[in-house]
């Protein structure tokens, strides 16, 4: 089975700081996913600059094919020297997971990555090396499906120090909590959000340090097909439907006319619900063999706004409560966020004349614009997106 990596991170800023001194970079290459977490010395602007430089240099150089030795050398020689401490310093962790299931982890002075496999905390053997007088830990290993990795800045293991807990959260307790939480959450985003909330609670909502959690979970490739909008040319209906129905992907149809086309071509009945789970969205429908059937433009607009909120990194538990609602938009967003790695969009470009009505309280003629925004947002979320227009 092909694997994909579900990645999400969340940062808490040190109390009263506007900028975070930790920085996470998530990159995709042809054959791998890379997650970089850097923690700049100090806090505020200075730390933010150090962490940003470090993560960007690492990311850009690794993408360009540089070795870790070259990266570290560049960082050491580039980082501005702190006037107070007379050193240039930022810790970092880099996790690279390849599509062929090989993985590489390198750490410099960050707390060790928590690694969970088969419901256990696992220690991976590592090699220590000296590069430019800095001790670097390197791990080479193979990943398995459902492996979970948590990278963190030291603000996590110090959470609550001297207040709620004498010595802070500590790596061992944090790892235990992560293990428990992986059992009750499926996606990286829910796990990151849960761990970050735990830190915030231990700090009693006054974080004493920048605190960052980055989660990577190895998941199977999950495909989704989404069909919206009738084709310009009616003759294309059958071709579209047969491509759309191919394979074991989860299937979503957004739009009344689109649903009618599917039902006609497949010779199935549409059963439209009259239950308004959300008063501002039209109800959903059912067609045998299709996972979700919803109205089009209004529902997709709402879905898009949920996805954008998700991307803003400004989400907490209330977001997931919204995501768990029973309306069409939440259901689509939930599938796209949590049950999808690769998405294929089947987009018909026909215009509905009645949608060009300026008297309607909402501009319904925006499907193409919505589709473009949706594509963009999904790509930013790390999904692989392919689009076919009809």
């Amino acid at each position: 089975m092909k694997v994909s990596v579900d990645v999400c991170y969340k940062s808490l800023n040190k109390y009263q700081e506007e900028l975070c001194g930790d920085k996470v970079e998530i990159l995709k290459t042809e054959d791998s996913d890379i997650i970089i977490l850097a923690d700049g010395m100090g806090s505020g602007v200075k730390a933010n600059i150090l962490a940003t430089l470090t993560s960007k240099i690492l990311g850009t150089m690794l993408l360009g094919g540089a070795t870790i030795d070259e990266c570290v050398e560049t960082i050491v020689k580039t980082l501005p020297v702190c006037q107070v401490r007379k050193v240039a310093y930022s810790t970092f962790s880099i996790l690279q997971i390849f599509k062929n299931k090989k993985a590489y982890l390198v750490e410099f002075d960050n707390p060790s990555c928590v690694f969970i496999r088969d419901g256990k905390i696992v220690k991976i053997p590592f090699v220590e090396r000296l590069i430019e007088n800095k001790v670097i830990k390197e791990y080479h290993f193979d990943v398995l499906l459902n492996d979970c990795f948590v990278l963190m800045s030291d603000g996590v293991i110090h959470a609550g120090v001297g207040k709620v807990l004498n010595f802070g959260w500590t790596w061992d307790s944090m790892a235990e909590y992560t293990l428990k939480s992986t059992k009750s959450t499926l996606s990286a985003s829910r796990l990151a959000s849960m761990l970050s909330k735990a830190c915030d609670d231990l700090y009693m909502q006054i974080p004493g340090d920048d605190t960052t959690i980055a989660v990577a979970r190895v998941i199977p490739v999950k495909e989704v097909h989404l069909f919206t909008g009738p084709p310009v040319n009616k003759d294309s209906d059958e071709k579209l439907v047969s491509q759309f129905m191919k394979g074991s992907a989860k299937k979503i149809v957004c739009g009344g006319t689109s649903a009618n086309i599917i039902a006609r071509v497949l010779d199935k009945e549409i059963r439209t619900s009259l239950i308004y789970t959300d008063p501002s969205l039209p109800p959903m429908a059912k067609i045998e063999g299709i996972d979700l059937v919803t109205e089009g433009v209004l529902t997709l607009s709402r879905t898009l706004s949920l996805l954008k909120t998700y991307l803003s990194n400004d989400i907490d538990y209330t977001f997931f409560q919204k995501l768990d609602l029973e309306n069409g938009a939440s259901k689509i967003a939930k599938v796209l966020i949590e049950e999808c790695t690769n998405i294929t969009l089947y987009v018909g470009k026909a215009m509905n004349e009645a949608h060009q009505n300026p008297n309607l309280p909402f501009d319904l003629s925006i499907r193409m614009n919505l589709v473009e925004q949706l594509k963009d947002t999904l790509k930013k979320m790390g999904k692989e997106v392919e689009t076919f227009y009809f």
Partner: protein, 80 residues
Amino acid sequence: MFITICVGSSCHLKGSRQIIESLESLIKEHHLEDDIELNGSFCMGECMKGVCVTMNGTLYSLKPDNVEEFFNKEVLGGLR
């Protein structure tokens, strides 16, 4: 008897939900739950005439404020 109300995008914006609610309460008021079944439908392809409602194969164009008139005249009239 079946009454089908369009809940497509355009009709939705023109008030399908209010129409469904009104019809539901009118049916209850007249104790006609056993005689009339309400259905939803996606786009009926007559968006210009929305909100589209069909009964016995006839298309009616309703607004939230003429539901009662439609009910009294067409629905009750049709049942008599």
